[in-house]
Amino acid sequence: MAAPSNPYRVGEGGLIDRTRPLAFHFNGQRMQGYAGDTVASALIANGVSLIARSFKYHRPRGFLGSGLEDPNAMVEIRDGYGFDAAVRAGQVRLAAGMQVRSVSGWPSLNFDIGALAGYAAKFIKAGFYYKTFMWPNWHLYEPLIRRTTGFGRVDANARPHPRRQHHATCDVLIIGGGAAGIATASALGGSGLRVILADDQPQLGGSLLWSDIEIGGTSAAAWAGDRQAALDGAAAVQVLTDTVVTGAYEGNMFTLLQSFHTDGSPEAPGGIASECLWKLRAGSVVLATGSVERPLVFAGNDRPGVMLASAVRKYLAVHGVAPARELAVFTNNDAGYAAAFAALKAGVRVPAVIDVRDAPPKEFMQRLAAASVRCITGAEVIGTSGGRQLDGITVVPLGGGARQHIRCDGLALSGGATPLVHLTAHRGSKPVYKADVAAFVSGDLPEDWHAVGDACSPCSLSEALTQAHDAARAICRREGVAAPEFSPPDVAQTPGLPIQAHWRAGTGNPSDMFVDFQNDVTVQDIELAVLEGYVSVEHLKRYTTLGMGTDQGRTSNINGLAILAALTGRDMSEVGTTTFRPPYTAVRLGAIAGDRQGPLFRPERLIPAHALHVRAGAVFEDFGWQRPDWYRSNGADREAAVRAEMAAVRSTLGIFDGSPLGKIEISGPDAAAFLDRFYVSNLRTLKPGRIRYSVMTGEDGVIFDDGVVTCVDETLYLAGPTSAHADEVANRLERWRQTEWPELRVGIASVTSNWASFAVAGPRARTTLAALQPDFDVSNAAFPHMSYRAGRIDGIPVRVSRISFTGELQYEINVPARYGQGLMRRLMDISEPACGRLIGMEAWLRLRLEKGYLHVGSDTNGRTTPLDIGMARVVAGKHADFIGKRSLALAYAQSADREQLVGLRAESGQLRVGGRVLADGAMPPCRTEGYVTSACHSPTLGISIGLALIERGHSRLGERVRIFDSGTIVDAEICPPVFYDPENERLQA
């Protein structure tokens, strides 16, 4: 099959590589472009001018711009690496094999049923939906409305583009690789400062690439090329092309998005091979982002074929594409003429240049005359003709007069330059209006920022180069380095004449004058908003959706608020602008997420014997650490396994991996006094080798954590916070030491991960410990309940605590983490003949429930105090202050109607966590008096038991209550919270 032709490709020129054709598809039709094309330029070269249907009225739309400013050209693109539901065609470099589809128009782009909406236009102006769709309610209309909105469809199966992240710092960040940016970088080249120059295009140059001005005797484009080559050679300068600076944040932090593109071939995939999100911190910042051109507003200005003059120049000069055969120009400043000259040079016919100014620069007039192009001055375009493609325009003198019709299939618009000051706005700087250039320019710059070129204020090329040079000098001065010799090159540029602001052309139908092309906001919508009092610029934006599209209003904001200003008789600075929000241009969520997915989404913590638990059939759950919840080796399902595990502990032996339990060493002469200020219990009376349980509260008196404290000797204590709070407790101790009690001589060392910790619980716990042959006496007399021993096993240091969470005889054996797996294997071997089992979290928690031990976070909530869990006597018995003690004296802490922790025995049905205790007699909805905080069927007692926080619970032992749970009622009796071995005989044994 013959290669499809490029009817709109000019004979020669451009930066494309005509030796490397790239085949792609648009709406299923095979087309061809060249390496160096964007999707937009390739489509235009192939004669595509209708690219989309507008959002609301489904009007035919063409390419207005050439890059990310284009409000119209949203297309779906599937490249060799991933998928984009909707992206601006001018922003995407063409690659072989790309599948490009238009995202609007049904059944087809050319014939769009939705265009009927045009006939209803007068009824669906700005904000119409606030005024109707109320009867009977919005839900009736919503599904229909939703279906009509949105660009493109997400492909659930598409691979995301590969991405990574990079962190860097530099002395100077230069944003924008146009004339001003290149000049600044060149001036800093030899300074030794580390410079990063970022530009969103594949090559530096910006508007120089399509400029006809000469710099230092060569063409602007050639100059840019030479400079880029020089910069690439400079050691301290890093040039990042295809890189957008997407956000500016405090501390001169920036986010950049760098794309890596491959052209592709029939063999190799093409497109965005990967993206890299940069986080960059810069010392000084040079804003050289340039400006974007504005269209002019007149009736029918949205017809395909109408295009920004700058876009015409770029398509011609960079891509060798002529967007039209007969191109008229409508301008209010000098830039329009450059488009005319570029078109003529490329052999495009220019029927006329229409300038609202009476006296444009003489030289321009002469050049046009020489090419026998009509220059109609002091005039404006008031209408366009044509269907889905422009075929002519209507021109009248300003202030009225004879209309004339001019045939053309293209119209280049130049309404003036809008500086790209988004990044200063990200930092909270408000743009200010400058009437002489009819533009909002950056206001107060953030510290160590410099704005140069059009980004500072629309200016001539030589002015831009001078500003760049000055900025470079200022930076060198600030950084204390010598400014290298560099003077701006000579520029051969005709002195221009000022712009003549012209915000709204003609007196035609305001509902045909488009301001925001993407959201179909017309002059009439703005008139309506003003009529209804939405005159704050933010109200206008929100009421009409002006500038809220994916183009972020680059071409529409200024025109819109100028028209608002005129309608409300205010000047531009009074009206002000809306705030530009980051990012500068849309960024894939995937690029920001990076590769933090699946196992890398959140750092997970593994216990030392993790691998062995896996082999033992553990089913893990994340408790801050990956911990065995139950073991498949103990039962077919969770319930069966949990029961088997509980039975093992009660009858013989259970082995529980408690490694995540906090281990904090508190040392020094004042260690006891220090710890005593955190725990509710009196710790000063704790003897060496002994262990005490206690709870810790916040300053508000609410329980924060619990655990055991071990006295190794008078100057060394071990605090054992819960695994969930281990780090937080260590941080809390350290904070109070530093900020409140620096005089106390105490050191705090968190060593949680240094130790693997296994609890052996059950009647055979002692023989099991003994079988490990520790170098100390494990007899009941020598090693009683709530005591601690440090020694060795096989010469390895061990720390053993005799404590109990289960109500059985229990030892907690700590060994250095590297030996954790070995210890676990030994314990399994020893206990095997006795049918010992590995115990998961669920069984462990149910065992402690039978024993009535508290589980912080389950049996306490955001307002539970020690008084509520039965520790009133401990609190009263402690004379020293502890954190939170004072709050326990506040009225509510003392009040009688608080929820207090009690036990529950079910008399009918099964208790479940979360059951609400009903106020006597009633059925829901009704008042409740508390809830079940822990519950299980107790195999040991053969009944369903639970713990509950119930109002005045401590005074209601023996009372029967009704509990509501998922539509059922459970009857239960309030009882003391200890269900198993209340005399503690078993754990003393």
Binding site: M134, D155, R427, R581, R588, Q597
Partner: protein, 415 residues
């Protein structure tokens, strides 16, 4: 003029040249019976209910910028009433019930979309908490239910429900009446309704100071001159401490930055509001097709309405983890509001140490859903001088007795 299909057609035929301002913008008078400081949803609703419920119409609402420009116009537009403590449940459900008929009350389409609020459950402990919550809500007379895993998969086809080792989905808590509202419409609708009842809405009018007599404030100094006031209502969210400081008292409030972000619009892909407290993200899709995404607060105290990137990164990473297909969607805009965080994440409603000043603040990250109730209850306090029964638990003095209503601790992150 009344809004209806008819008025749209009539005005359409007449060239849309006869619409009238949604609200009047008069110059401030020298004195008002009541001055409301803050032209956001809460302030405008307060004025509306003062006029409608209590017949007080000599009211001014002072807004330092443009109405609805604070958190009302910056939030993620979620509404729900799945609060656990009976005091909170009663308050927020009252608010949701007012929202349910608001469009008709004020003749302005606020686009209440009760598409269902889904809180994802990622482990057994969360499942127990969710069951507790559902039970409690039913006891409180509020709807709430548990949806099993398969049901969640049906409701959220793009949810990564099989291959997420870190945060498996066991099910979800669902409040069917939860959903979204068009946020600007709430401010504009209340403003229009209040204005028609005689309320003066005064924009670009910043409060700069107070004139006092004894323990009362007699007049307000503003950028637009001195305004005498009988009673004063304060509804300025993140700026409550600033006004309190001018009035000579302190609040248990810290102002923090809460960020929100939208993607570029796509065709419908998410029919509900979904939140995953464990991963720290909540998402809904607007009528326009944009994904609206929010998450945790920025880390430090701030009045700068600009967010910080690490938060954006964490929130969007969580969104992509939960919905891998979102990786190819694009972040279009992110912004921030200043929210008023109090220790127990519950509002402060009613009297202040200044005898004729009443306050409505402390909604933290959940203010939007509470606008009708916040306005209604502040209006009651101003008009009657005593707290409405629904507001009794939320008085400022609860911090003196430590009788807090700690939804934060009970309900996880609330938005």
């Amino acid at each position: 003029m009344r809004y209806s299909l008819k008025s749209l057609l009539v005005n359409g035929f007449r060239g849309n040249r006869h619409w009238t301002p949604a609200w009047r913008s008069p110059a401030p008078r020298a004195r008002y019976d009541v001055v409301i400081i803050g032209g956001g949803g809460h302030g405008l609703a307060t004025a509306y209910y003062l006029a409608r419920e209590h017949g007080i119409t000599n009211i001014a609402v002072l807004e330092k910028g443009w109405i609805g420009g604070g958190n009302t116009g910056r939030n993620t537009t979620n509404v729900r009433s799945d609060y656990m403590f009976p005091e909170s449940a009663a308050l927020y459900d009252f608010s949701l019930r007012l929202y349910e008929r608001l469009a008709h009350d004020i003749n302005y389409n606020i686009m209440l979309s009760q598409r269902g609020w889904l809180t994802l459950i990622h482990d057994h402990h969360q499942m127990e908490s969710a069951r507790h919550k559902a039970n409690w809500l039913i006891c409180n007379g509020v709807d709430g239910e548990i949806v099993e895993r398969a049901g969640v998969a049906r409701m959220l086809p793009l949810l990564n429900i099989d291959d997420n080792p870190r945060y498996p989905v066991l099910g979800a808590f669902l409040q069917r009446r939860g959903g979204t509202i068009r946020h600007d419409a709430v401010a504009w609708g209340y403003a229009r309704a209040a204005s028609r009842l005689g309320v003066d809405i005064i924009e670009n009018c910043a409060v700069t100071g107070f004139e006092r007599a004894g323990d009362a404030i007699t007049a307000i100094e503003t950028g637009r001159g001195r305004i005498a006031a009988g009673k004063i209502g304060v509804a300025v969210a993140g700026h409550s401490s600033v006004i309190a400081d001018m009035a000579g008292f302190r609040l248990p409030v810290t102002s923090r930055c809460l960020q929100a972000m939208v993607s570029e619009p796509v065709k419908p892909i998410l029919d509900h509001v979904v939140i995953s407290p464990a991963t720290g993200v909540y998402i809904n899709q607007t009528q326009k097709g944009e994904l609206v995404i929010g998450g945790m607060l920025d880390l430090y105290h701030s009045y700068g309405q600009r967010g910080t990137f690490p938060t954006i990164e964490k929130v969007l990473t969580a969104a992509v983890e939960m919905f891998p297909a979102f990786a190819s969607m694009r972040l279009m805009r992110h912004w921030a509001g200043i929210v008023d965080i109090v220790p127990d994440s519950s509002p402060i409603l009613g009297a202040t140490p200044v005898s004729n000043m009443f306050i409505n603040c402390g909604w933290g990250t959940g203010g939007f859903k509470a606008i009708p109730a916040g306005g209604f209850l502040l209006a009651h306090a101003i008009a009657t001088g005593i707290p409405h029964p629904l507001a009794e638990a939320f008085a400022l003095n609860r911090f003196r007795t430590n009788r807090l209503v700690d939804e934060g601790a009970a309900a996880g992150i609330a938005h």
